[in-house]
């Protein structure tokens, strides 16, 4: 089954007097259980593509499918529901809610999903243990290191076992050891739960974990390398 399919996506941004082609006729298909790195220099279009796949941004033209469902024509509400139930996001700047503890940050999305209090409390503890944060559940983001915060963000993204996780430069603010730990965690989830990962990065260390690397330049896919070649 195809987890993600993009057909002829185009997206142009206006920057001052200049039109910037962030996506220039991009087509890509990602199978379920895939572990794909989108690699591009800054402004290459990887984040725009990630946003289009996650329904955060609408392409000017083309079609986007997630789990065989076309999403580029969905309403704001439908897209929010899709993100809530089927997609997990991990951002470069951890982006946790500062006034909530690690456990509450993880629980928050589940509360919105309507998971009963007892169940979400239990799940939050389990997932925090799984990402190596046992004992830090009641700390607030300000009292945690960058790596720990990113692990909370990962826990929040995967706690509901979404079929697809989109990560935008997830290791950009982490040291190499923490980056390795995070990527191993991603691979583990990918291997054990068949969660599809699409990671935007230009970090070679991250790319080394990928099953597939898609290189982009100026909004176009210029190279698509499979696991064997990696």
């Amino acid at each position: 089954m195809t987890a993600v399919r993009c057909v002829d996506l185009c997206k142009t941004y206006r920057q001052g007097e200049e039109d910037i082609k962030a996506l220039d006729h991009v087509s890509i298909e990602i199978e379920e259980g895939g572990f794909v790195c989108l690699s591009a220099p800054s402004g290459g279009g990887k984040t725009t593509l990630l946003n289009a796949i996650g329904g955060l941004d609408k392409p000017d033209s083309g079609e986007v499918y997630v789990a065989e469902r076309r999403i580029d024509n969905l309403s704001k509400g439908e897209l929010a529901e899709l993100r809530l139930r089927q997609i997990g996001f991990v951002f470069q700047a951890f982006n946790l809610i500062p006034v909530l503890t690690a456990r509450e940050n993880v629980e928050f999305v589940m509360q919105v999903q309507g998971v009963p209090a007892a169940e979400r409390g239990q799940k939050a503890l389990e997932i925090l243990e799984e990402v190596g944060l046992k004992g830090l559940e009641d700390r607030r983001p300000a009292d945690m290191s960058g790596g720990q915060q990113q692990r909370v963000a990962v826990a929040r993204a995967i706690v509901s076992r979404p079929a697809l996780v989109l990560a935008d430069e997830p290791t950009a603010n982490l040291d190499s050891k923490t980056s390795d730990g995070l990527m191993e965690l991603f691979r583990e989830l990918n291997d054990h739960h068949s969660t599809t990962f699409v990671i935007a990065t230009h970090d070679k260390r991250v790319m080394s974990y990928a099953k597939r690397i898609v290189r982009m330049l100026d909004g176009r896919i210029v190279e698509d390398i499979s696991q064997d070649a990696v």
């Binding site: 509400g77 951002f91 809610i97």
Partner: protein, 409 residues
């Protein structure tokens, strides 16, 4: 505590100074509203009771049409037996009969036109404060005695004092010439020069003789002690009026339409001021919540990307406002209630307002009246307006685009 409630509560304390300032504005306005509304209603109660107890009473039984055109021949027949029957029927209330006429009152040197009211000396003090205002001499005692009480201003005009003789000249009920010589028993001083100049009282028995009333009078006054329960009393009194007799029962609202209008006018102007106060508080809340939303644009972008709808975020902003508003409501109501409660026992006075107060039948000291309505009406309105003010920042979230929001610093 529910997680969303916890989040809303903690969000409020991200900027504790700002939250306290906004809540403080609510507490201040709520305290002020509780005090002002309690004072206002306390004053209305006093104003109504003082005015009605001065002369009018809470109910009057009259002949039909007398209220609009007070002609001497529009009388209540056998007024004393009627008053006696009512006193037996309603022992809790104060009841007295009266008759009203006009006469030229003359001393040795001067004459002046006045209203002459015949009253029951033994009962008048229960339905009117006038007997208590006698500052010189005494009030009437005998129902048939040829005596009179006059105001201090009239005494000055006529150059008379207690014990002097006055001559009354007027028209009787049947149009015939009415005349009497009376002794001044007392002089009252109400503080209202117009009233003191033009109002006199004589015993009802004397009035009956002088004005050829044949046992009739013009109204029976009923004092209920307070305005609550007047409507019910009116119904009961109407049922007591002898069948076949054309009599009407008027309540204080009909007898003193100006009183109700004065109160309504005062309420309108006061509520206009309260409205301005509430709007100022609402703008303060609007400012706080707008800043709070703008500061969190990036964070809102993140949670929207996680799947939260703008509607949910808007509800979070409203919940934060509701918590802040509730704190303002509770603290304001408690503080305002305590201050007002203390003043309701000890009272307070506006310096230099004694004269103005006496003109409106108000005492020199004011005692606010704390009721559930005066305690909660202002704070609840402030609470609702703060929620209304938070609607704009909450609705603005619908325009938020997750990607653009996440770019915000």
């Amino acid at each position: 505590m529910n997680l969303v409630l916890r989040l809303a509560w903690r969000n409020l304390w991200r900027q504790p100074r700002r939250t306290w300032l906004t809540t403080g504005a609510m507490v201040f306005s709520n305290t002020l509203l509780v005090f002002m509304i309690s004072l206002q209603f306390g004053m209305y109660g006093l104003m109504i009771n003082n005015t009605l107890q001065a002369y009018t009473g809470h109910l009057q039984i009259q002949a039909p049409g007398y209220i609009d055109d007070q002609k001497m021949r529009q009388t209540v027949a056998d007024i004393l037996p009627l008053a006696e029957r009512l006193r037996a029927e309603f022992p809790e209330q104060s009841i007295a009969a009266r008759a009203t006429g006009f006469a030229l009152v003359s001393s040795a040197d001067r004459s002046y036109g006045v209203a002459v009211v015949g009253v029951e000396p033994g009962y008048e003090s229960r339905v009117s404060t006038l007997p208590g205002l006698v500052s010189s001499g005494r009030f009437l005692e005998d129902n048939d005695a040829a005596e009179i009480v006059i105001g201090a201003a009239l005494a000055r005009i006529l150059r008379v004092d207690v014990g002097d003789e006055l001559t009354l000249l007027g028209s009787g009920k049947d149009g015939s010439f009415a005349a009497a010589v009376v002794i001044i028993a007392g002089i009252f001083d109400s503080g209202l020069p117009d009233f003191d100049r033009s109002f006199t009282e004589i015993p009802l028995g004397l009035f009956d003789d002088v004005f050829y009333m044949n046992g009739s009078g013009h109204h029976v006054v009923i004092n209920n002690g307070g305005i609550s329960g007047v409507a019910d009393l009116k119904t009961r009194v109407e049922a007591t009026v002898p069948p076949g007799e054309e009599l009407v029962v008027h309540d204080w609202d009909a007898l003193q339409p100006g009183l109700q209008q004065t109160i309504k006018a005062d309420i309108s102007s006061a509520f206009f001021m309260y409205g301005i106060l509430v709007i100022l508080v609402a703008f303060s809340v609007l400012n706080t919540q707008l800043m709070s939303v703008l500061e969190r644009t990036h964070e809102f972008g993140i949670v929207m990307s996680l799947g939260l709808t703008p509607g949910r975020l808007g509800r979070l902003v409203l919940l934060e406002t509701a918590i802040m508003g509730f704190m303002g409501l509770v603290l304001g109501a408690i503080l305002g209630g305590l201050v007002t409660w203390w003043l309701s026992f000890n009272g307070f006075a506006y310096p230099g307002m004694e004269e103005m107060a006496s003109r409106f039948n108000l005492p020199a000291r004011f005692y606010p009246e704390v009721t559930l309505i005066s305690l909660l009406s202002g704070p609840v309105v402030v609470f609702l307006f703060t929620l209304l003010a938070a609607l704009y920042p909450a609705l603005r979230l619908h325009k938020l685009h997750p990607v653009e929001a996440m770019r915000a610093v």
